[in-house]
């Protein structure tokens, strides 16, 4: 059975990397009403979330085998 943590982990890792890339290489992409580098921070959180999901899935599969 598919461990859902794997695809959702990858999904948020990919999303996080895209946003993080935007936040670092295009830091001037800002929205009208905020001074924060929204892409950088949300990219970092999504990347962290994705990696945690992957880590949990990896540990679960190691325990199962």
């Amino acid at each position: 059975m598919l461990d859902l943590r794997v695809p959702s982990g990858w999904f948020f890792t990919v999303l996080g990397l895209i946003l993080l890339g935007m936040g670092i290489f295009a830091p001037d992409t800002r929205a009208a009403l905020t001074d924060a580098n929204v892409n950088l921070y949300s990219g970092l959180s999504m990347l962290a979330f994705g990696l945690i999901m992957l880590l949990l899935a990896w540990r679960a599969s190691r325990r199962a085998s």
Binding site: L2, P7, L15, T29, A31, V38
Partner: protein
């Protein structure tokens, strides 16, 4: 609003993942039970999030943020009063009968407990309702994308429907459930930064409170009502919803919400797909935790928008062609102001995801009810299982096509939430009385249940036809005027529930009861109640107590 290439990339990544999950799960399907019921094998954390996500459609997100801007934090009652108590009740008290009876669907439970006609009545009304909900959701999304991004209405409706069709067709209920979890996570990721940014910009909750209390709403109501959920509920005139305490707690909190969460197969199907009785009971309870906090990402941005619009910083509440505020656009206009290219893609993809999870929920529930309760029952009874698997697959296509039809019907109505409440009021409200008596009163009979359901639906329609609110209803006469359409729908639900309860009770006593041995596993008193073991989070009761404690804190905090 214009999207950048990076936004389209994110949307494409999302499409690839949902289709990919469907593709991987297609191998798991070998029987109709795998396709329509997930083979009762899904882990509890997945069913819990799917339980919440299937209900979190696009019309919910858009409608709730719109209501947030229109009515303020009172909108949270749709969650705190209008969902959580019912969710706890179904997990603790009703799931032992649903899951334990081995019924494949909610209508099938009615067949086991009452009789064939009660099941058929419920199966048909449910099938119609799911198609409508799905169509309304589709319409909401198509119109929004058209207004905000200038996308072609037909195009966005058809493309997103096609994607839902493909992954549901491939992996059945399991694929729908797995994707709902991914979609739920994406909705949170796409919406919570908006809540944080908008509230921070408006000066925090304190800043919002200060700004809003300075304003006056229509009808001379003080803007303070926007940040208080309970304080202004004494009379319908003192709050913008036009609802008083009794109508809110009894109509929404009891009848409508219990009617929805305790009997609606769309959400219950997720719990019934769980891998054990304990998981099935904990599905709603664990789902209640994220559900309590959904108001913070959908309603609070709407409230913040009103405060921001008063600050003169370049944000204003969107208006329609006639200059009236169009609250349905609040969430997307906020995104345009707070999200740069990149995050904007995530936000809009989250919106798409909510639409898809709502629609897939409807389609999979429709599938199962059609295949098992209608097709297998009336059209072809004793076919090999392979045949029902193919029927289930074909029904997926039919369901999606019918939803698209319903989307075009929905274009004739303005306020999506009102229409939904109206439909729920007619169909769902009497239903809870039927299940309540069915599960907790041995004496209830099939004739009683059926006549009660019919009376309830008739009572609901009559109430609507004889009363007027906001210029709607009153087709047959004008007996009473409600201060708002919302109050009207709450009272319609109350009328339906009460009449169904009374008629079921009286007719049951007048008809022959079913022998007790037929009712084993279906009714309280004739069913073994599961004994719960393990740590507190593995047992339903302590989980429910924890939810109630948090719920009380939230309600007191925002009173």
């Amino acid at each position: 609003m214009k999207l950048a290439p990076v936004d389209y990339t994110i949307l494409a990544v999302y499409f690839a993942f949902v289709l990919g999950i469907g593709w991987i799960l297609r191998k798991k399907i070998s029987t109709s039970g795998d396709f329509l019921l997930s083979g009762r094998s899904v882990p509890v954390w997945i069913t819990s999030l799917a339980f919440i996500a299937a209900n979190l459609g696009a019309q919910e997100l858009v409608g709730m943020s719109a209501s947030g801007a229109k009515y303020g934090i009172m909108t949270a009652h749709f969650y705190w009063i209008g969902a959580i108590p019912a969710i706890l009740f179904v997990g603790i008290f009703m799931m032992p009968f649903y899951y334990g009876s081995k019924a494949r669907s909610v209508p099938e439970y009615l067949k086991m407990r009452y009789d064939e006609k009660t099941r058929t009545y419920n199966a048909f009304s449910f099938a119609v309702m799911t198609i409508f909900s799905s169509g309304i959701s589709m319409y909401a999304l198509g119109k929004l994308l058209q207004l905000v991004l200038g996308w072609n209405f037909n195009m966005s409706v058809l493309v997103s429907a096609a994607i839902v069709l493909v992954y549901t067709f491939l992996g059945g209920l399991t694929s729908a459930i797995y994707n709902e979890v991914l979609q739920f996570l994406l909705i949170v990721a796409g919406f919570s930064p908006l809540a944080i940014l908008a509230v921070a910009k408006a000066g925090g909750w304190q800043g919002i409170e200060t700004r809003l209390s300075a304003m006056t709403l229509a009808g001379g109501i003080s803007g303070r009502v926007m940040t208080h959920a309970w304080t202004y509920m004494g009379s319908p005139q003192s709050n913008p919803m036009g609802v008083e305490l009794f109508g809110m707690v009894a109509g929404l909190g009891f009848v409508l919400s219990f009617g929805y969460w305790c009997t609606n197969y769309l959400v219950l199907q997720r719990a019934m797909a769980a891998d054990s009785m304990n998981s099935a009971r904990r599905t709603p309870l664990i789902g209640a935790f994220p559900k309590m906090f959904v108001p913070f990402i959908v309603i609070v941005p709407g409230i913040a928008a009103v405060a921001l619009a008063r600050m003169g910083i370049g944000y204003s509440i969107p208006v329609d062609a006639n200059g009236a505020p169009n609250y349905n656009l609040v969430i997307t206009t906020l995104m345009a102001k707070f999200y740069p290219a990149g995050m904007l893609g995530v936000g809009l993809t989250g919106l798409m995801a909510s639409f898809m999870s709502g629609m897939a929920g409807n389609v999979t529930a429709f599938n199962t009810v059609w295949t098992y309760d209608i097709y297998q029952n009336y059209i072809r009874r004793n076919a090999p299982d392979r045949h029902y698997l193919n029927v289930g697959r074909a029904t997926t296509i039919v369901g999606v096509v019918l939803s698209i039809g319903a989307a075009y019907i929905a274009t004739r109505y303005d306020n999506i939430m009102d229409l939904l409440q109206l439909v729920f009021g007619f169909v769902n409200a009497p239903l809870f009385a039927t299940f309540l008596l069915g599960m907790f009163w041995k004496r209830g009979t099939g004739h009683g249940a059926f006549s009660g359901l019919v009376t309830g639906t008739v009572a609901a329609s009559l109430t609507w036809c004889l009363t007027v609110a906001e210029g709607k209803g009153g087709i047959l006469g004008h007996v009473h005027t409600f201060p708002s359409a919302m109050a009207q729908s709450f009272w319609i639900a109350l009328m339906a529930f009460t009449s169904c309860l009374l008629v079921t009770f009286v007719v049951s006593l007048a008809t022959r009861p079913r022998p007790a041995e037929d009712l084993a596993g279906l009714v309280y008193g004739l069913t073994e109640i599961p004994v719960d073991r393990g740590s507190w989070y593995q047992r339903p009761a302590p989980l429910a107590v924890t939810v109630i404690a948090i719920l009380l804190v939230l309600n007191i905090w925002f009173a």
